[in-house]
């Protein structure tokens, strides 16, 4: 405790240091005066007495300093002095200061912006209590190459009782129709176990969570709603808890309202923005009652580990459990499936797929900052030659070298912190705009903010940047040769040889970094261009899709659309009405999986609609991991509307209906995969669901990139919507459409057929295609901006160095010209110097680029990470820029008038 009190005393001294100095001065004066009086009394002469008193007292200045230093604040006072001096120097050179501060502001601002995204998504813990105990449970069948296949109710119960987890909750994302509000709306629904909120450790703002012990069959009749839905559909009514809502015509009671800002842990916006949570124990109608273990009907699950258990420990216990279950149920878990259950930290599951892009972005923006630092270092070095005499004089007057180094470093850090503050100011003012340009699907987007850690990062980055660009000039100042510097009357260029070497090294670094960035950017650009130019295989022009959804009530007695024959009249009527809308030339209906390249529904489609497990007729496949394809259910007009050409056989027609045998149209990839040597027409297959009918292939269509822009050959199967029915529907319209009016018009038509149905998500297909590229577009655009900035800074750097070299050598150039060198010779020499720097930079940069491009291979499409054309092309481009930047100073060198140059020297 004593040291604390001592520190307090020292602080008091720091605050009142003027008073302390005055006190000391006064008491020393008193001492001298008293001594002098004493001497006078003993009969000395006045001035003799004063001298004697001083002699006995000692060196007052020295003693005063000693007393002052005793408090241990001189470093701080020196620092303040240096800061003040630094600010004064910056004011004296406004041009230099503005350029340097702006460069740093740009670098720090951009780096901090990207860091805030990295911080919010990758670094921050999830916003739940003890987030490190939260895991995602991922079932895999590596033996048959299937990942993330989901689990089922018996396995869930096994895990719940295993003693490894506090809670386990499957989570099943769904959409539903909410009726009762003025307009029927589609809501995003998450079906979870009753322990879900206890598992996450969150409480509703209003009402209560589910009773976590509830294990009654079927769906609980109570739901929780999100703050957003509460405000939007119930006007924030505080009595909402007394209300019931109809979800897919079933009646539910609202028991709680979640806090604003509470999001379900999800990877995409769609998964996060859950509006209604419903709970079930996953057995009893309408659930599949205690399904067989090979049927994996619960798509995802999260869990909270028992306290004190690490993921590794839990994983080994889960492995043991899996092994035991495989022994117990050998038929359900055949050995060659190699069933495994992986525990993945929940955060990893949510953000794992954006890590690569974000780290790449941070690296890119960090390089820009580094290049900015190098440029400022160059500026400082140039200024250091102008300040050579100042330094020499201060050293001659007794300043220690370390003291000068410290002073210059302080100046750089002041500069850099000013830049950092400016950068942050810009960042704060652009915050709204920047958040808007982030891709909306970024996981944890709403957690991105300028937090304390971000501010700390900016401050740290400023200090480090200041130290980096201040180091070279500071060290050079320390190594100054005083005599030499002082002798060089007014020339102001001292230690130039060494300094020039440093500057060249800096420019080489700059070029290397820019080259890496440029190559990364151009690889991404080419990937993007290739994706844009990928032959779609369908025509998105003039097509709009509008979604609607039929209810799936648990009470089948009130289900108007239970079977395909019951649904068909609705479909036909909507199609008929849709075709009459202004501008519409063609209309078709499909399920939500049939919307080409629709990302927002992607996860949902995989779970509910898209993935189709089937068996082929006549092929005895003893696998519980049957073939899988992407399935869409569409009306006959779909293919013509999207202009997907028929290759063989026929498309669906009006003769295919509920009564006739089930038919399918497949794409070429499907045919090639499953009937490589045979004619697929007439072949039959069926869904693995029990009781499914055989489906005959009647037509083969060309491959179209409706699933993924990056993949051209995805096996796809199309079923006739009239034969199968579907709940999540998309109405397709082609023609000269008024995109603003269509949603309302379609709503009117749908409502006039069935007023309880929601109409939502109206989009042109071109928008859907663009949205599927949004994340790629974002990283590509960012990296390109950073690369161009880097190129600009690097060319400024090379321009500065060459100009400097030319001005240093004016005298020499004058002599050369006088001795008969042609202007061309001079131009050549100077350009060569610029080129040399660029080549050195390019060599270093190419090595760096090779490493980086391999790391980002996962982000590329259609272009190899070592694409020689890109590497050579970018290197040549960079050298061209270097030559161009050297041109201006070279021309100045060429025009040196030998008479003037020699006279001035």
């Amino acid at each position: 405790m004593e040291w604390l009190r001592e520190l307090a005393r020292r602080f008091r001294m720091l605050v009142h240091r003027r008073e302390f100095d005055a006190d000391l001065e006064e008491e020393m004066r008193l001492h001298l005066e008293l001594r002098q009086e004493e001497q006078l009394q003993s009969g000395m002469a006045a001035d003799e007495a004063r001298a004697a008193a001083r002699r006995r007292f000692g060196n007052t200045t020295y003693l005063k300093e000693e007393s002052h230093f005793a408090w241990g604040w001189e470093w701080f006072e020196n620092f303040l002095m240096d800061v003040r001096y630094g600010l004064r120097m910056l004011r004296k050179a406004p041009g230099f200061s503005a350029v340097a501060v702006l460069t740093i502001a740009l670098g720090i601002g951009a780096t901090t912006a990207i860091f805030s995204v990295v911080d919010g998504t990758l670094l921050h813990a999830l916003p739940y209590p003890e987030p490190e105990q939260l895991v995602s449970i991922e079932d895999e069948l590596p033996g048959v190459g299937a990942r993330d296949v989901g689990m089922n109710e018996p396995e869930w119960q096994d895990l719940e009782r295993s003693g490894i987890f506090e809670y386990v909750s499957p989570a099943w994302f769904d959409e539903n129709n909410l009726t009762g509000a003025p307009q029927p709306t589609r809501v995003r629904l998450l079906i979870v176990a009753p322990n879900y909120f206890a598992l996450l450790g969150v409480q509703p703002q209003l009402g209560r969570a589910f009773n976590r012990e509830d294990h009654s069959p079927g769906l609980l009749t109570e739901v929780l709603i999100s703050d957003g839905l509460w405000k939007r559909s119930f006007g924030g009514d505080p009595h909402v808890l007394e209300k019931s809502v109809r979800i897919d015509t079933d009646l539910y009671r609202i028991v709680g309202v979640m806090r604003p800002g509470f999001d379900a842990p999800g990877r995409t916006a769609e998964e996060r923005n859950v509006e209604i949570w419903a709970a079930t124990s996953f057995y009893g109608a309408p659930m599949v009652d205690h399904p067989p273990r090979y049927r994996r009907n619960l798509p995802t699950a999260i869990a909270r580990l028992k306290p004190g258990l690490t993921i590794a420990e839990a994983q080994s216990r889960v492995d043991a459990l899996v092994a035991a279950l495989q022994k117990e149920f050998p038929v359900d878990y055949p050995a060659r499936n190699a069933w495994t259950v992986r525990l993945v930290p929940l955060k990893e599951r949510l953000v794992g797929n954006v890590r690569q892009s974000l780290v790449l972005l941070l690296g890119a923006v960090g390089s820009v900052l580094l290049i900015g630092c190098v440029n400022v270092a160059n500026l400082l070095l140039a200024r250091a030659s102008a300040r050579g005499r100042e330094m020499a004089i201060r050293q001659a007057l007794g300043a220690a070298r370390s003291r000068l180094t410290r002073q210059l470093l302080t100046e750089s850090v002041v500069l850099s912190v000013l830049g950092g503050i400016a950068g942050l100011a810009v960042l704060f003012s652009l915050k709204g705009f920047l958040l808007r340009i982030l891709p909306g699907n970024l996981p944890r987007l709403n957690e991105v903010s300028i937090s304390w850690s971000v501010l700390l990062f900016a401050l740290g980055a400023s200090f480090v940047a200041g130290a980096i660009f201040g180091l070279a000039p500071a060290l050079h100042a320390g190594r100054l040769d005083i005599t030499h510097a002082l002798k060089q009357e007014g020339r102001g260029s001292t230690g130039s040889g060494q300094r020039a070497r440093t500057r060249r090294a800096l420019v080489v670094t700059e070029f290397a970094l820019s080259l890496v960035l440029m190559i990364a950017a151009s690889l991404l650009l080419q990937s993007f261009r290739d994706l844009l130019n990928a032959r779609l295989g369908f025509n998105p022009e003039n097509v709009m899709s509008v979604r609607t959804r039929l209810p799936e009530p648990n009470d089948t007695a009130i289900d108007k659309y239970k079977t395909a024959p019951q649904e068909a009249p609705f479909l036909r009527e909507v199609l008929r009405r849709g075709a009459t809308l202004p501008g519409v030339e063609e209309a078709a209906i499909g399920d939500s999986a049939s919307i080409p390249l629709d990302q927002s529904q992607r996860e949902l489609n995989l779970i509910a609609d898209g993935q189709f497990f089937f068996t082929l007729e006549g092929r005895d496949i003893q696998s519980d991991q049957p073939p899988v394809a992407e399935r869409s259910r569409v009306t006959p007009g779909y293919f013509h509307l999207l202009e997907i050409p028929l290759q063989r056989g026929r498309l669906f027609n009006e003769l295919d209906n509920e009564e006739t045998p089930a038919v399918a149209v497949i794409n070429e990839a499907f045919a090639r995969t499953y009937w490589p040597k045979e004619d697929p027409l007439g072949r039959r297959f069926k869904s693995t669901r029990t009781g499914s009918p055989w489906i005959a292939v009647v037509g083969v269509i060309a491959n179209a990139r409706t699933e993924s822009l990056a993949e051209g050959e995805v096996p796809q199967v199309y079923l006739d919507l009239y034969q199968t029915g579907a709940k999540r529907l998309a109405i397709f319209l082609r023609g000269h459409l008024d995109a603003g009016a269509i949603p309302g018009e379609v709503r009117q038509e749908v409502e006039s057929v069935d007023p309880t149905l929601p109409v939502f998500d109206a989009q042109t297909l071109k928008e859907t295609v663009a949205a599927s590229l949004a994340a790629r577009r974002f990283s590509m655009e960012m990296i390109t901006v950073f690369a161009l900035t880097a190129l600009l800074l690097a060319s400024l750097g090379i321009y500065g160095v060459i100009s400097y070299i030319v001005s240093e050598r004016t005298h020499e150039i004058g002599i050369r010209i006088a001795l008969g060198a042609t202007r061309g010779n001079i131009l050549g020499t100077v350009l060569l110097q610029g080129l040399q720097l660029a080549i050195a930079g390019a060599v270093v940069g190419l090595v760096g680029a090779l490493i980086v491009s391999h790391l980002m291979a996962g982000l590329l499409y259609g272009v190899r990470p070592t694409d020689p054309l890109t590497f050579v092309g970018v290197a040549i481009l960079l050298m061209g820029v270097a030559l161009l930047a050297s041109c201006l100073p070279a021309r100045r060198a060429m025009r040196v008038d030998p008479m003037c140059a020699l006279r001035d020297a």
């Binding site: 005393r9 006064e26 008491e27 001492h31 008293l34 007292f57 408090w71």
Partner: protein, 109 residues
């Protein structure tokens, strides 16, 4: 008259002891007191009292407050604290140990 420099490290001891004996003193009085009692043998460079007093203030061995001298002038009076008293006994025992050791070495010769 010949004056001896005080042995290094004993300045604190001298100041602490002087203040312990007399209670309250300003710098000039401390210097005079040390000289008078040592019968002018111990010569303190008077000014060096002040850095030493500053360090003792930081350590919390003494406190200082402004008062008036008999000649009616403003002076800063130093006073021993409890910590200072403890330090005095530490310094005393240390000093005695050193002196005792030196004495034994000399007498052994």
């Amino acid at each position: 008259m010949h004056r001896d420099e005080i042995p290094p490290g004993t300045l604190y001891l001298l100041i602490l002891k002087t203040l312990a004996r007399t209670g309250e003193m300003h710098g000039y009085e401390i210097a005079n007191s040390i000289q008078r009692i040592s019968e002018d043998v111990l010569q303190v460079e008077e000014g060096s009292l002040y850095p030493a007093l500053q360090r003792m203030l930081i350590k919390g061995w003494v406190t200082a407050k402004w008062g008036t001298t008999t000649g009616n002038r403003r002076a800063r009076y130093y006073q021993l604290t409890a910590a200072g008293r403890k330090q005095l006994s530490v310094e005393m025992s240390q000093f005695e140990r050193v002196i005792g050791a030196i004495t034994r070495v000399i007498e052994a010769a």
